[in-house]
């Protein structure tokens, strides 16, 4: 029997000119796309340094007579950014810590403990994820108003201490931890909290980091809820401050861009420092989803 064609030959044209040309084309497209992503940011920074006399020229000035860095000083005085930064940081950090705490506790209970009502409660958690923000917005606002929490940190933080999404994500992670680890610890007489604190929580480090970065950035950038729930300058957060800056009729665009740049820098720093965790978190949620 003729067995000389046991394994087919690999495709002959592995590095043909066509393949190389396509590869170059792919890179060109990726670079163009990258430029499109970064371009607006570059333009933002460029515009922020234009002197007011040259900011309104058309076509836009590419090489101004000097770089007006004083725009940043003016933007900082016109808008109380220091206060906004403080508020945003307090709010985002508090929510992040609170969620990591409550979600990991809840996820551990759902993943590894048995109790009546477990499945029902978990489904209830999931069900709340289905309901859009708009439905809960007005009743939440009314609840905040009844609690007399309007324009306070509590209003910005407490509603988000719990997260069905975070609980779901961490539960997936905890369920993937090998059963034996848990059983062995139980046989050694360890209590539930001890197992959670000493074994599962350290193991969940990467997942917690991913969730943490995600939550922090999400709430640092949040706009709709703080808009509705705060009404004085000393409680507003950065996105609100930025949006209200444009409230005046004649927007000074170079100052506006300076203000925008100021507001964007912290998120960029956090992202660049922690992007490994952030992207991993996105991918985790996508594959399981």
């Amino acid at each position: 029997m003729n067995r000389d064609v046991a394994i087919a030959e690999p495709p002959a044209s592995h590095n043909s000119p066509l393949d190389r040309a396509l590869s170059i084309l792919a890179h060109v497209i990726l670079v163009l796309g990258g430029l499109a992503m970064v371009g607006p940011f570059v333009w933002m920074i460029h515009s922020s340094t234009l002197p007011t006399a040259e900011a309104y020229r058309y076509p836009p000035v590419l090489f101004p007579s000097y770089r007006a860095w004083e725009n940043y000083e003016r933007a900082l005085t016109l808008v109380p950014f220091a206060r906004f930064f403080l508020n945003s940081t307090i709010v985002a950090a508090s929510i992040t810590f609170a969620q990591l705490f409550t979600c990991s506790l809840g996820a551990f209970a759902f993943a590894r403990m048995r109790f009546p009502g477990r499945d029902f409660l978990f489904l209830a958690y999931l069900a709340t994820m289905m309901v859009p923000f708009e439905v809960t917005l007005i009743p939440s606002f009314i609840i905040i108003r009844e609690l007399e929490w309007i324009n306070t940190y509590q209003a910005l933080i407490i509603p988000f201490v719990f997260s069905a999404y975070g609980t779901f994500l961490l539960r997936q992670f905890f369920m993937a931890v090998h059963r034996d680890l848990f059983d062995a610890a139980r046989m050694d007489g360890a209590g539930f909290f001890e197992i959670y604190w000493r074994i599962f929580l350290p193991l969940a480090g990467p997942a917690l980091a991913a969730l943490g970065v995600f939550v922090f950035l999400n709430f640092w950038n949040s706009f709709f809820w703080p808009l509705v729930v705060t009404n004085s300058m000393d409680m507003r957060t950065v996105p609100i401050g930025l949006a209200l800056f444009q409230g005046r009729d004649s927007v000074q665009w170079n100052l506006m861009m300076a203000a925008t740049t100021i507001s964007v820098i912290p998120t960029l720093i956090v992202f660049l420092a922690a992007q490994r965790y952030f992207v991993r978190g996105i991918m985790l949620s996508g594959i399981k989803g």
């Binding site: 477990r118 708009e134 809960t136 007005i138 009743p139 444009q246 594959i287």
Partner: protein, 314 residues
């Protein structure tokens, strides 16, 4: 002396006196411990997730402006919405927005992910770059694009002018305002979908491609018959998430157009915001929100049912 009746001490441990042993049963201790674990998250869950959920639907049956006591009006709000041209306009705008953003974003993100997956050089760099808009606040992004799209001052029209096109007033033009917001939103969300697709692509075993090549399949055939089917779970996820978030768009509308010009960009969320917080018509706004929820629910169920047809699970 043995008796058929259990000794008194045993009787105490069975039948009606089980309560004293209850706390010694491991399963009860476990349940109690579990409830303690759940407690920190449960209270906010009740007050800020369950209560508003119930409240949101209940409010839609009322007429209330927060200053005067509320009145129960049954389904009158919904009847009002059915007849409200502005509401239908808002729903239409949301639908158009979703139709504009989702397919465009999906195709572009998939294309970029495929390109990035094949290259393998600089994946991390590109991922970072494409993610910059994603992590930036929507408000900031909207502000930058407002400046870029300024009719007589912005870079976009300046660049168009270089190739001889006289650009419209974008955000000031009733025809072009919504497309402008769509482009901004696609730009912002591209990196997120791209990363999801990239993860999905990297999960496809090389064996499938090799087998296809052996069968003589060209690049396009491989894409259509190997990549797309095996990527379908990811595609499904991206599709569902994109649609749900597009139907709820708010920040860009608030910052870029405030619903204008001439209300051509008022989306469902913006309508709800206006009705509730500017007109203080809480019942009506809640009813509109309930309708939006219904739309999202129906869309999600529809997609869920449809996935059997085209999503391949391993």
């Amino acid at each position: 002396m043995s008796s058929p009746v259990p000794a008194p001490s045993e009787a105490l441990l069975t039948g009606t006196n089980q309560r004293s042993t209850l706390f010694r049963r491991a399963s009860v201790r476990e349940a109690l411990a579990a409830y303690c674990f759940l407690l920190p998250g449960f209270l906010p869950f009740l007050v800020f997730a369950v209560l508003p959920m119930v409240g949101g639907f209940s409010l839609s049956l009322l007429e209330w402006n927060l200053l005067q006591p509320w009145t129960f009006i049954g389904l009158a709000n919904f009847r009002g919405l059915l007849a409200d041209g502005e509401f239908w306009s808002a729903m239409r705008v949301s639908a158009l927005f979703t139709l504009g953003v989702v397919p465009t974003g999906l195709v572009l993100a998939l294309g970029l992910a495929v390109l990035l997956n094949g290259g393998r050089r600089g994946v991390v760099f590109y991922r970072t770059v494409y993610f910059l808009p994603v992590v930036t606040a929507t408000v900031a992004v909207s502000m930058v694009w407002r400046w870029l799209l300024a009719g007589d001052l912005g870079l976009v029209n300046a660049l168009l002018g270089v190739v001889g096109i006289s650009g419209p007033a974008w955000l000031g033009d009733t025809t072009w305002a919504l497309p402008a917001v769509i482009v901004t939103s696609v730009w912002k969300g591209l990196g997120y979908s791209m990363v999801l697709f990239l993860a999905g692509l990297q999960n496809i075993p090389q064996d499938y491609y090799d087998a296809a090549k052996l069968d003589g399949a060209g690049a396009w055939d491989r894409f259509r018959d190997v990549t797309l089917p095996l990527l379908s779970p990811t595609t499904f996820f991206v599709l569902v998430v994109s649609i749900i978030s597009s139907l709820q768009v708010f920040d860009q509308v608030f910052v870029m157009t405030n619903g204008g010009p001439y209300r051509s960009t008022v989306t469902a969320s913006y309508f709800i915001y206006e009705t509730g917080f500017k007109l203080l018509n809480m019942g009506y706004a809640s009813a509109a929100a309930s309708v939006l929820f219904l739309v999202i629910l129906v869309a999600s169920i529809f997609q869920w049912k449809l996935q059997r047809r085209w999503v391949h699970y391993e």
